[in-house]
Structure formats: structure tokens, C-alpha cells
Amino acid sequence: MMAATNTRPESQPSSDKAAEIWAVLAGVLDPEVPAISVVDLGIVRGVMVSETGAVKLQVTPTYTGCPATALIHEIIKAAVISAGYFEVEIEQVLSPPWTTDWISQEGREKLRAYGIAPPVGEAAVGKALLFGVPPQVSCPKCGSNKTEQVSEFGSTACKAMYKCLSCAEPFEYFKCI
């Protein structure tokens, strides 16, 4: 199930200072998909600020081997420090595991505007199928539903390659996991 807007962690800041940091993070873009923020992507799971202003962040990886993970931690840290919080600690959390369902509605629209088709449907649950049918993805350029999968792997772990049969544009699809 897609996390409802009111259950997303950024909608429930633990304090005013935490709300301020959430706002800062909403401006930190994913280095590999610089169209959406780390908050839209749903990888920031918690922001805690102590009385002395020490910040503890909980961040989860998209894929276990995502090579951008270390870089994402660095730029998140840098952004929080720039906002005046000099003591920042990042804790990597694995649970609940990230899926594309964690991408916010707003994030999905930003992806589409950037030229990446957002994930279609919900991540597979229960007994996953052995043989998959590629999802029906609409072209982020012209909106046509006549598209086909070129490869289920793309330039980063989280994307597949598609092409539009109407406007002939190749495009990337943020695949569902």
C-alpha cells in the first residue's frame, strides 16, 4: 500500500526544529535522479533533534548496493550543517524496507516532468510471480500508452529502459520493487 500522505514521517515532525530540518531535506535532491528530493523519494525515515541541537537522522537505502548511498549521506549532512546544526549523525535503517511505494505523490509528478516514468501500481507483495508481465507504462513525453520495455535494467539499479512506440522517444522507467 502506498503510504498515505498523513502517515509519511515528514508530516509528523517530532518538534519545531525537526520540522525545520525536514524542510531543509526537502531541498536535497537525489544525486542520481536530481528531480526529486530525498524526502520525496521516501528514504528519510526519522529526524530527531536533542535539546542541545544535536541531530540524528534515520536514512534507508533504496537498493542494498546503491552506490549513491554514501554520497547521499554526505550531502544530507552538509545540508543540515549549512542550516546551522553542526552535530549530525546518520543512522542507516533497513526496516521497513524501501519500496517504490515510498515515493510521494508529488515526487511521482516531479519524476514524470523530468522525463522518467514513475512507478506503476504497487510493489509486489506475497507470493511474487515467477514470470513477470512488463507493466503498462505511459510515455513521460507524449503520454501515449503504446510503449515497450527495452530492458528491465537501466543506468541505475532503480530504473528500467523503455521506448515510446508513438513518439519514438526512449525513456527511463522508475521500476517497482
Partner: protein
Amino acid sequence: MNIYRDESNPLFQYVVGLGDDALILGHRWSEWLSKGPNLELDIAASNLALDLIGQANLLLEYAAEVEGAGRSADDLAYLRDTQDFRCHWLCEQPNEDWGVTIARMLMFSTYQYLRYSALMQSTDRQLAEIAAKALKEVTYHRRFAAEWTVRLAQGTDEGHRRVQNGFNILWRFVPELFETSGGERTLANDGIAVASDSLEADWRETMDEVMTKAGVSAPETSGRVMASRHNGHHSEHLGHLLCEMQFLQRAYPKASGATW
């Protein structure tokens, strides 16, 4: 008495086994880079390698923590010798060609799928969380391997011959998948680990489903476990693999660590 069997810390041995499987299979996939059958599959290979090495990283980090001897995940990956690895022989076998590589991936990703699914119920929270994360990736890997098995086998005679050859070569490693060590059994009884032999029926059912659909068959072998990974026994291929994988860290030990 076996000098390599170390049952002093069964949880460490078990988690290292999970991590080594992912690490060694991930390394095998990385060997396809720049040599893939086409550009898309070259990219697929790098993605599969990345996922597996990511899983290895989480698992070996946890193993290092369980061991509590001050070793890091990198130390475990790059500074152990063959007899201290606990990966399955199936993972360390050479890629050969795309048919063999796909047959192996179907066999092992099906196994990993079942093992991670069961581990999600582990009473060890860390293991359960890693398993839940890894399962999402392995589900995708298994589908990739199942579809390629069918595509090769139902495509040309040459494709059929090659993927069938993969199963012919690799089927002798099936029994070791289900060999359950004493330490693993004890951990399983405590709800921490998954006893490997409990996965066999489901594994055979999935393999049968895909292989029937593809029109390939399992060779007749009276395979049995001759030498056990649990004792640190491996085929000669693991040593050659480690020569390449561990070269940098061993040649330049002073530079290893955070500087990479």
C-alpha cells in the same frame, strides 16, 4: 578432527555463509562487465552484481559485529583465505557462457528467494531486516533468470543446448544447497536461522515449474555432498576468483581501509 571447522560461533559462521554466497556470486556477475551478450545484458549484469555485493556488505558487516573481533566487512571479504569462506560451490563455479550463467542464476536465486523469505521470520531482528530488504532484489533476479531460461530454451537450438548444458554441468551441486550443518540446525531450532533442508521441496517445485515451461530437464545424477563448505572445502575455482578479487587489498595492505 577437522582443522577448518569452527563451531565456536555458529551465528558468525551462518551469517558469513549468507554473505559469502552473495559476495562470490556478485563477483561472478561482475566478470560479465564489458563482455555481456549485448549492451542491455551488460548493464543487467552490473545491476545484478551490485545488488548482490550490496547484500554481501550488509551481511558481512553484521557478521563482523557478531564476531566482535574488530574485523570489518572489508576485512572479511578481502583478507580471508579460501578455507575460511562458507559460500556454496555452486556460486563459485565459472560463468562459462550465458547459458551456464543463467542456469546457475535460476538455481541460486530460487534458493536465495526461499532462504530470505524464511529468514524474514527470524527472531534475530538484524537478520530479518536484511532478509526483507534483500528479498525484494532477489525476487527480481529470479524472474530475470526464469525468463532467460525460457527465452534461451525456446529460442534457437543453440540457446537450448547451452542452457541445458548449464543444468547438466551444475546439477551435481544441488545436494549441497540443502546440507544442514549442526550449528545451523541449532540456530534454526532457536528460530534464528533457516535449516537448509527445509527449503528443498519448494526449491524443487519452482525449478520444475520453470524447467518444464522451458522444455529443459534435470540430468540424472546421484549427486551427493563430497566435501562441505561448512568445513571450508571448496572447488579450485574459488582460489582463482579470490586472486583477482582480493589482489588490491593484499598487494597494498597499508592503503586498505577507508581510503578505498
